[in-house]
């Protein structure tokens, strides 16, 4: 199977994630889209690891997963707290940090 297909899939997943971040308002969905982008990057790492025949890419993907896990813990905590205080998980409602 052509190795380029993995790259195409990775790019497709990343684009879907990026578009999701930009267009969706629900914080949870935005969050999941961010995860999707991270995993697209992971796929690219692993693919290139295979292409170059060394393990660096695989190691990098582990790091990404660890970071993603931490991010989920912190991010979900923030989202839940915002939801509790404002009764809304819309990212557009949390727009006080302006000017």
């Amino acid at each position: 199977m052509d190795i380029a297909n993995y790259i195409y899939l990775s790019a497709l997943l990343f684009t879907i994630g990026a578009i999701g971040v930009v267009v969706r308002r629900n914080a949870i969905v935005v969050f999941m889209c961010v995860e999707l982008m991270l995993n697209a990057a992971n796929l690219a790492f692993v693919t290139f690891s295979r292409v170059h025949g060394n393990l660096s890419g695989q190691v990098a993907s582990f790091f990404t997963m660890v970071v993603a896990a931490c991010e989920v813990v912190v991010g979900l905590a923030i989202i839940v707290t915002i939801y509790r205080s404002r009764r809304s998980a819309s990212v557009d409602d949390a727009s006080l940090l302006k000017r």
Partner: protein, 629 residues
């Protein structure tokens, strides 16, 4: 050179006393004046002891030095706080501490009704300390510290009654005029340092022999500027008349006997500079000649007794400055006149203070008259000073002033005739205005204010006057007998014992001429002031009007320096506000405007931030792609 350990006490004692009296405040009110007077007297005693110790040493060993501490040590630049007591300094030490002590005693009575008498005495002691540092420093930098110190003391004492705005202004005027001179002194020190790499008198003297004429003339001119500021010489003389705002003992001590003669000291001390630069010497004699006539002319029209005496001081210091400009032969006579002047002028100022004390602080001589009947001692002591300043033999002024006139005539050529003529004319005018002061104050009829009840001053006041009167009588004879002072100062000023053989005028003829001129001046004054109107007449000659206004020096200063100076500062303030501040304001304004439009991007919407980030990354990738393509 002998090393000494006691010189520092000459300065430390009065300085300590001044600090103590100022710090203790009202606690010391009861005994402050006694303490300060005792300190001053003990300084005089130390001075006398040093003088006799010097008599016991011969030749080179006569001068004594003391290194107090290492002051500045930067690389090769070394300045020690060292004191030098030589034949010249000791004259000043004795004059300052001797006259100073007499004036301390006088002030105990004169200032007895002043609630700030302790502060007054603290300042007097501060002055004594600074003045002694001025004459004892062994380098120009040490001298400079004393120079500034006496300026400060003078400022504080002129403005002692600073609750009167006019007096405070007079103090400021004196300080500013002195400052102009101080700039000259600091420049002279800097030039000396760049030229010779040292600022000690000995070092500069050594270097002066090999220095360029231009450098020496520059140093000499700057030293002359300094001397003009401190000694109230033309063109910086205008402050001295106003300085009479200070209490009369201050006028006697600082503005007659000691501080204003610092310029004469400076030039005499720097004789090696002036001897090597005829241009600088010429400037000195010109300044001296102008000032001696200038001061004398102002003196003829002043009705304020203290201002008349101040003008006289200016004129007499003009004589001394002129003498210092005449080269090695003149220095000793300048110092002799300085010492005799210290006696008779201080005595006359104290006499004026005594009259004022009895006349409710009236200073207008037109309201005096016939005071000799109620104040016989004051009149007698003042009269002795008067005879001395006139140069009547055998009083002190005869010996010192005649020598200066003689030396001026012997300067040779046209210069000699001009200078001799100026000094002779000055002597005549001096006789006129001093007789005027005498006649207006002590002779004639009573023109007193109805509240005035003049009475003789207490013992504490007339005793110092009497001592100074004795000095006015005897000092000239003593200093001149066997050329005592000339021989004494010879090691410092390098008197070359030139013998004036082929002079067209023998000394006796010059003395006779001087006496005739003086007699004319006296006769003229007596005739003119047989009747004295109580209010100064208005229909006077333009000359008198000019003299009343100090020959328009103040107006000149105001028109040439003060007004343009104010315009300049106003212009600078405007430039600062419009140009400098304007630039800063424009920068701030641009930043403000641009920031307020740029910050609209900060919407607070996370999604728009994310979109911008994505677009940014895309732009970056596109840019990299373009470059690698």
């Amino acid at each position: 050179m002998t090393t000494s350990t006691s010189l520092v006490y000459l300065i430390a004692l009065p300085l300590f006393s001044a600090g103590l009296l100022l710090l203790l405040g009202r606690i010391a009110d009861k005994w402050g004046h006694i303490f300060a007077t005792l300190v001053s007297a003990s300084v005089f005693v130390i001075g006398v002891m040093e003088f006799f110790a010097m008599q016991g040493r011969e030749g080179e060993a006569r001068a004594a030095t003391q290194k107090v501490f290492e002051w500045i040590s930067v690389g090769t630049f070394q300045v020690d706080a060292s004191l030098l007591l030589d034949q010249l300094s000791i004259c000043f030490v004795l004059l300052i501490s001797g006259v100073g002590t007499l004036i301390h005693i006088y002030s105990i009575a004169y200032m007895s009704h002043d609630r700030d008498r302790r502060r007054f005495f603290a300042y007097l002691n501060l002055f004594i300390a600074a003045m002694l540092l001025l004459v004892l420093g062994d380098s120009y930098l040490n001298l400079y510290v004393g120079w500034e110190g006496v300026g400060l003391a003078s400022y504080l004492l002129i403005g002692f009654w600073n609750q009167k705005p006019a007096y405070a202004t007079a103090a400021k005027k004196a300080f500013v005029a002195n400052r102009v001179g101080d700039v000259g002194l600091s420049l002279a020190i800097m030039i000396a340092f760049t030229q010779f790499g040292t600022v000690t008198f000995a070092g500069v003297k050594e270097g002066a022999s090999g220095a360029s004429a231009g450098a020496l003339t520059a140093i000499g001119a700057m030293l002359l500027l300094a001397a003009a500021g401190k000694s109230a010489q033309f063109p910086l003389q205008s402050w001295l008349g106003d300085a009479m705002a200070g209490p009369t003992p201050v006028s006697a001590l600082i503005h007659a006997a000691t501080m204003v003669t610092a310029g004469v000291y400076l030039i005499t001390r720097s004789n090696f500079i002036f001897d090597a630069s005829p241009t600088a010497q010429l400037m000195v004699v010109i300044v001296g000649a102008i000032t001696l006539l200038f001061g004398a002319l102002i003196g003829t029209a002043k009705d304020d007794i203290k201002k008349a005496l101040a003008a006289s001081t200016m004129s007499q210091i003009g004589y001394m400055i002129l003498a210092t400009g005449l080269g090695p032969v003149g220095y000793a006579f300048a110092i002799m006149h300085l010492i005799t002047h210290g006696f008779f002028k201080a005595g006359m100022f104290l006499g004026a203070g005594s009259v004022m004390h009895g006349m409710n602080d009236e200073v207008n001589m037109r309201r005096y008259g016939a005071i000799r009947k109620v104040m016989p001692i004051t009149a007698a002591t003042f009269g002795l000073g008067y005879l001395a300043i006139l140069g009547v033999p055998p009083f002190a002024g005869f010996y010192s002033k005649d020598k200066i006139i003689e030396t001026a005539f012997y300067a040779g050529g046209v210069e000699g005739i001009l200078l001799g003529g100026a000094t002779l004319l000055g002597a005549g005018i001096t006789a006129f205005y001093m007789t005027r002061v005498m006649v207006l104050t002590f002779a004639g009829t009573k023109r007193w204010d109805e509240n005035a009840h003049p009475h003789e001053s207490p013992f504490l006041m007339w005793a110092p006057m009497a001592v100074l009167a004795v000095g006015s009588v005897a000092s000239g004879f003593l200093l001149n007998s066997g050329n005592a002072l000339v021989n004494w100062l010879e090691p410092v000023v390098n008197e070359s014992h030139e013998h004036h053989s082929e002079h067209f005028l023998p000394p006796l003829a010059i003395s006779a001429m001087a006496l005739v001129v003086v007699a004319i001046g006296v006769a003229f004054a007596i005739l003119k002031y047989r009747t004295v109107p109580v209010v100064a007449p208005e229909n006077v000659t333009g000359f008198t009007k000019a003299a009343r206004k100090d020959l328009y020096q103040d107006s000149f200063n105001e028109a040439v320096f003060m007004r343009p100076g104010q315009k300049l500062t106003a212009g600078l303030v405007k430039t600062d506000y419009k140009v400098i501040d304007g630039l800063v304001r424009v920068v701030g304004w641009v930043i403000q405007i641009s920031a307020s439009s740029i910050r609209n991007i900060q919407s607070g919407y996370v999604r728009s931030y994310a979109l911008i980030m994505v677009l940014g990354v895309l732009a970056l990738v596109a840019a990299v792609w373009m470059v690698t393509l």
